[in-house]
Every structure is written in structure tokens, then in C-alpha cells.
């Protein structure tokens, strides 16, 4: 009779107690699977939001542009580069940036003029979906501008009002034009809210006198499964002499946040599981004391301490295994529900249709993201905690002296 068969019999002998122990472990495991997948969903949504609101998965610039952005350090022939990237399955959108002054009546504000490739930009980011009032840019309305929400307030303008834009073109001459507010954006990101001034690319290049060259090319990966590092290398090969950076390099703060979110979940796991460890320790100790005479007889019959320890350990391992299986099913189901239905945060006052976090727009529905890691990490930690908690009862059973044990009462 091997250790596991005996362990199984031992578990079945105290059904109620085993059920409570396994139940507690499985419940904690399932909740932690849900917790980890919610955290994964949250960080993923944060990254997705950042990427789809403006950043893109990668960006391509002329060397030196990021250190000193101006109208002279540009990506030459952006359309053919975008076409080359698109041929490889990427989505690419050339962008133009300039700084200037926007004024309406007596109010004025410094703005970032953003030239938008209307067809390509919507394949990379979703800014066009974030119009609060009015409409997004249109190729048929070259003097129609879409502006950030706080900028609209600063200039005291709304859809249909006019804005004078003033800047310095690439040849040093005065660039100025009159625009009509076509749309006002929702909260997108702090820089866009405060100073975003979107116009079609044709209008930008004509106004600022930059010929066929773009400030930036934003690139979106072919699918969410594409590996970022490999993609960055592939894009770099397609853009010789240019600077290709992934969002992790462009936004190291966000990358660090995502990385440390994982470490945070381990701390949470340890806190919750230490309570489970106590439950396991208690149950196992009760089992050992209950069967102390049994173990004494086993040892008297010649069973070595290692085998006794193995027997107790097998019981703990079997308990953990059953609990993990139940937790995987229960937690998986919970997470699956949270991934598909989401948790509506608007009831907590997130307001409007977009909540903000750290200056970035968020959908108010919190979706979990059930990844293999979200299941394996809580369960592996659970098993590890149980095995550590079982050590003491094991040792206790192993070092029993047969004569005393048999007379124990």
C-alpha cells in the first residue's frame, strides 16, 4: 500500500475536517486567481489605454528628435515607411507636431499642433472615438480643428467657434491661420486635454511648411500576441537610420508600474495564504495527534521516520492538489465572468463614460484578464504555503517514539 492510497484514506476518514480545510484552501485560491486576473486586467487596460489613446506600441523618430523636438529633425518619406510597416502586418500612422499659440477673443494658450493622417491614425489609436462634442477631423474640412477639453475651456470656445493659430513655420516665417472648432475631445491624457490641437496632415504641412517629412510614426502591433521586443527589432530593420522605441522605452514609468504590479500580487498572496497556512497547520496537527498511536504502532512495526513523514506529507500534498483543482475551476470561472462581463465601476461614481486614473482616460468597466500566469501563480504559491505549513506536523509524526506514542492518551 503506497503512501498516497493511505493518505487518501486518511483524508476520507475525517471527511468534515478535510472538507473544511480543502474548502478554505480552494476558496482562498479561487479568490486569489480572481484577484490576480483583475490586476492583470487592470495593468493591461492601463497599458492598452495609453497605447490606444496616443502612444501606439512603438514610435519611430528621426535621431535626436526626442531630445530636441523641432521642425527640422523629421522622418523623411513617412508614407513609404508606413507602407513598408503595413506590408509586414503592422499599423503605422505618421504624425506631425508643432508648438504655437491659439487665441480666441482675449484668451490665448500655448498649444501643441498635431497633424493627423486621417486614414492611418485610426488604425493605430482611438482618439477619433473620444470626441465629446462635435465631430472628429474630416478630410473635407481642412480648417476644422479638434481640441482638448481643458484647452476649450481656457480659450472659452465650443464647437463652431473660431480660433486663431500663430506659430513659426520651418522657414522662420510667421505661420498663422484661422480655424473653426470642429470637435472637443473627452478626457484623453493630460497633454491632449491641456494643449491638444488636432488638424489634418495636409493643413499642417501647408501651414508649417514641412514637405514630405513627419515628426513621428506611431506603430501598432499586428496582434496582441506579437512580442514587443521582436517587433521593435523588426521595425528598426525597416527604418534604417531612425530611432525605433517601444512603449516601454517611451514610457518607462508605466513599464515599471506594470512590472511592479506583479510583485504587489505576491505580497497580497502571502498575506492571504499565511492565514490558510495556519488552517492547514492546525488541521494537520490535529490529524497527527489523533493518530499518534497509529503512527506509534507503524514505527513499532519497523516503519522508518522518513516513511512516516512521507505519509503525512502525502496527505498534505493530496489536500493541496484537490484544493488547487477546485480553486482552478472556481477561480477560473469567476475570472472568466469578470473578463467577459466586467465589473462596472460607474456605480462607484466613476462618472460620465470615462474615468481617469493618473491623468489617463479609462473605461469605467473593469475587465479581468485570465492568463495562464493568473492561474498558475496563485496556485503554485498556495501549494508552496501548504507544503511549508505541513512541515511541522510531518516532523512531529516522524520523530514519535513508539513506546510513548502507543501509551499516549
Amino acid at each position: 500500500m503506497n503512501a498516497f492510497t493511505m493518505a487518501l484514506r486518511n483524508i476520507l476518514r475525517q471527511r468534515a475536517r478535510s472538507l473544511v480545510t480543502i474548502g478554505a484552501m480552494a476558496f482562498a485560491g479561487a479568490i486569489m486567481i480572481l484577484y490576480v486576473s483583475l490586476i492583470e486586467g487592470f495593468t493591461d487596460a492601463m497599458v492598452r489605454n495609453m497605447i490606444s489613446n496616443s502612444l501606439g506600441d512603438m514610435q519611430i523618430h528621426a535621431k535626436g528628435y526626442l531630445d530636441d523636438p523641432d521642425l527640422y529633425t523629421l522622418v523623411p518619406d513617412p508614407d513609404s515607411l508606413a507602407a513598408r510597416l503595413e506590408a509586414k502586418g503592422y499599423h503605422a500612422a505618421p504624425r506631425w507636431y508643432g508648438i504655437g499659440l491659439a487665441a480666441s477673443g482675449e484668451s490665448s494658450a500655448a498649444v501643441t499642433l498635431r497633424g493627423v493622417d486621417l486614414e492611418r491614425e485610426r488604425t493605430v489609436t482611438r482618439t477619433h472615438e473620444h470626441v465629446a462634442r462635435g465631430r472628429w477631423l474630416d478630410g473635407g474640412d481642412l480648417k476644422g480643428a479638434v481640441i482638448g477639453r481643458r484647452l476649450a475651456r481656457t480659450l472659452n470656445v465650443d464647437v463652431g467657434d473660431e480660433i486663431v493659430f500663430l506659430s513659426q513655420a520651418a522657414d522662420g516665417s510667421l505661420a498663422n491661420d484661422l480655424f473653426i472648432v470642429r470637435g472637443v475631445l473627452k478626457t484623453v491624457s493630460e497633454p491632449v486635454d491641456r494643449a491638444g490641437f488636432f488638424i489634418p496632415r495636409e493643413t499642417f504641412t501647408e501651414l508649417m511648411l514641412v514637405d514630405d517629412a513627419a515628426s513621428e510614426i506611431a506603430v501598432a502591433l499586428p496582434s496582441r500576441e506579437t512580442r514587443l521586443e521582436a517587433a521593435t527589432q523588426e521595425a528598426a530593420a525597416l527604418a534604417p537610420g531612425l530611432e525605433v522605441k517601444s512603449w516601454r522605452a517611451l514610457s518607462p514609468v508605466m513599464a515599471k508600474m506594470v512590472d511592479t504590479a506583479g510583485a504587489g500580487t505576491y505580497i497580497m498572496l502571502l498575506i492571504v495564504y499565511s492565514a490558510i497556512g495556519m488552517v492547514v497547520l492546525n488541521a494537520m496537527l490535529m490529524n497527527v495527534f489523533e493518530r499518534i498511536r497509529e503512527y506509534g504502532i507503524m514505527k513499532a512495526l519497523g516503519m522508518g521516520p522518513w516513511r512516516v513523514a512521507g505519509l503525512v506529507y502525502a496527505e498534505a500534498a493530496l489536500t493541496a492538489l484537490i484544493a488547487c483543482a477546485v480553486a482552478a475551476l472556481g477561480g477560473g470561472a469567476l475570472s472568466w465572468w469578470a473578463q467577459t462581463s466586467g465589473i462596472d465601476l460607474s456605480v462607484f461614481g466613476a462618472g460620465e463614460d470615462f474615468a481617469t486614473f493618473g491623468g489617463m482616460a479609462f473605461e469605467p468597466v473593469w475587465y479581468a484578464r485570465l492568463t495562464p500566469a493568473a492561474v498558475v501563480r496563485p496556485l503554485a504559491t498556495l501549494a508552496a504555503v501548504v507544503m511549508i505549513a505541513a512541515l511541522y506536523p510531518c516532523v512531529k509524526a516522524a520523530v514519535i517514539r513508539p513506546v510513548e506514542a502507543i501509551h499516549h492518551r
Binding site: 486663431v164 510667421l174 498663422n176
Partner: protein, 254 residues
């Protein structure tokens, strides 16, 4: 630029000022000279036609502009050439500065945040263009050198900003001819004591009845290969200027 017109005018008149007041204390003397400059600026009016050449790493551009000034509060600069920017005007009345854009037929009021921005792509800032540089009010002047330098008899003023003055420069050193009191060179230092830009005055000739430098050149210290040159084609002083000339309404009418 009107500031420079005035500035040049003022320095030209320094000789008379110094002749009138010659206090023994060098600090008081320097202050007296600069006070005279301020006083001389007041109540003056002028008109000038100036050609500006801007040379940068990325472009070279030439502009012809006409400027008027009256007192310390009013000035107006209108671009005459090139055609693309013809009619672009910068107006200062009192504390307000407006930029009139004929393409849009709108006047924009410049905010404080824009004052250090480049004016018309040159190495002058909007602040240079419009600020009433009350040197004696904002700076404590001393005559830091008087005598021969480079074969010329010169006077050197060192201007340190007063603690309470809201000025952009940490120090200004002005060199002038000792006899004519015409400026030769002025060096502007930033708040860290580093040279920010150097202005040189050459081509001294008689204009508008006064002897003055006809060419002014500014070179930014961080980009020594770049420069902006102002060449005075015409200048007149004490001209009659109609009421309401320095007004937004007139800006649009012009």
C-alpha cells in the same frame, strides 16, 4: 525693435547728458547717465524703416519693416516685405501687446508666457520688441571701465539688476565710445552669469539729424553661427503722430 531705436537715440544723446550733469561719484554719474537715457526716451516720437536679416542653421530670411514709437508706452512695427507677411503688425499700448495677422484679420493679445518667444523668427524675443527697458529703474549701473581699449577711448557700463526688478538678464555690459557716447557693443548675461547674447553696433553715420550706428547685429551665445542684423534705412525723430495711431482699430485699418 522700437526699444533699440530709442536706445540708440538715447545713447546718442548721452554726450549732452553727461555734459549737463557731472557728479563726482562714479555710481551716481553712471546712474545720472542712464536716468538721462530714460528721460530722453520719454515724450519722444520716431519713425524708422529697418531691414532685418535673420541667419539660422535652418533658414535665412530678410524682412523690411516700418516702426513708429511715441513716449514709453506706444510702439508699432509693421512688416512691409516679404509679401507673404506683409501687414503683420505688432502693437504695444501701455501694458498690452497685440499681434495683428492680416491673413486672418485678427489681432492676438500676447500673454506673458510668450514674451520670451522668438519675434518673427529672429533672435529677438517679443520681450525685446516691446519692453520698455528702463535701465536705471531695473538695473544698478556702474562705469566699470573708462579709457583706451582696442585703440579706442571707451566707456564701459556694468548693469546689475536690482533685487526687486523683474528682468530677464543677470547682467548687462555696455561699451560705448567715450567721446561720442555711441554704443559699440553690449553683452547680455543670463541669471547664471553666462553670456547669452552679444549685440554689436557698427556703420556709424548721420541719420535723422543724429550720428548713430546704422547696423546692429545680435549673435546668440549658444549658436555663434547664427545672427540677426538690423539695418536702419531711414529714421526720423520728433514726428507728429495722430491721436489713436497706436490703437487696435488703427491696426486693423492699416
Amino acid at each position: 525693435m522700437m526699444k533699440f531705436i530709442r536706445w540708440i537715440t538715447a545713447l546718442t544723446a548721452l554726450a549732452a547728458a553727461v555734459a549737463m550733469a557731472q557728479p563726482a561719484d562714479p555710481v551716481a554719474r553712471a546712474r545720472a547717465i542712464l536716468d538721462e537715457i530714460d528721460d530722453l526716451w520719454r515724450g519722444e516720437s520716431s519713425r524708422a524703416l529697418v531691414a532685418m536679416t535673420v541667419t539660422t542653421a535652418h533658414y535665412t530670411r530678410r524682412l523690411l519693416m516700418e516702426g513708429w514709437s511715441q513716449g514709453k508706452d506706444n510702439s508699432l512695427v509693421v512688416i512691409r516685405e516679404p509679401l507673404k507677411e506683409r501687414g503683420v503688425a505688432t502693437l504695444k499700448t501701455g501694458d498690452s501687446v497685440y499681434s495683428y495677422l492680416p491673413k486672418t484679420d485678427r489681432a492676438i493679445r500676447l500673454t506673458a508666457g510668450m514674451m520670451m518667444g522668438s519675434w518673427m523668427g529672429s533672435h529677438f524675443t517679443n520681450d525685446d520688441l516691446v519692453k520698455e527697458s528702463r535701465l536705471s529703474g531695473d538695473y544698478d549701473p556702474v562705469i566699470s571701465f573708462e579709457g583706451e581699449r582696442g585703440g579706442r577711448r571707451i566707456m564701459e557700463f556694468t548693469l546689475m539688476p536690482r533685487p526687486e526688478a523683474a528682468v530677464v538678464w543677470g547682467k548687462i555690459i555696455i561699451e560705448a565710445h567715450a567721446d561720442t557716447r555711441l554704443p559699440i557693443r553690449s553683452v547680455y548675461y543670463d541669471e547664471d552669469g553666462k553670456v547669452a547674447r552679444t549685440m554689436t553696433f557698427t556703420n556709424i553715420r548721420s541719420m535723422g539729424g543724429r550720428l548713430m550706428p546704422g547696423l546692429m547685429r545680435v549673435v546668440p551665445a549658444d549658436k555663434p553661427e547664427e545672427s540677426t542684423e538690423l539695418e536702419y534705412r531711414e529714421i526720423e525723430f520728433d514726428i507728429p503722430i495722430a491721436e489713436g495711431f497706436f490703437s487696435l482699430a488703427n491696426l486693423k485699418r492699416r
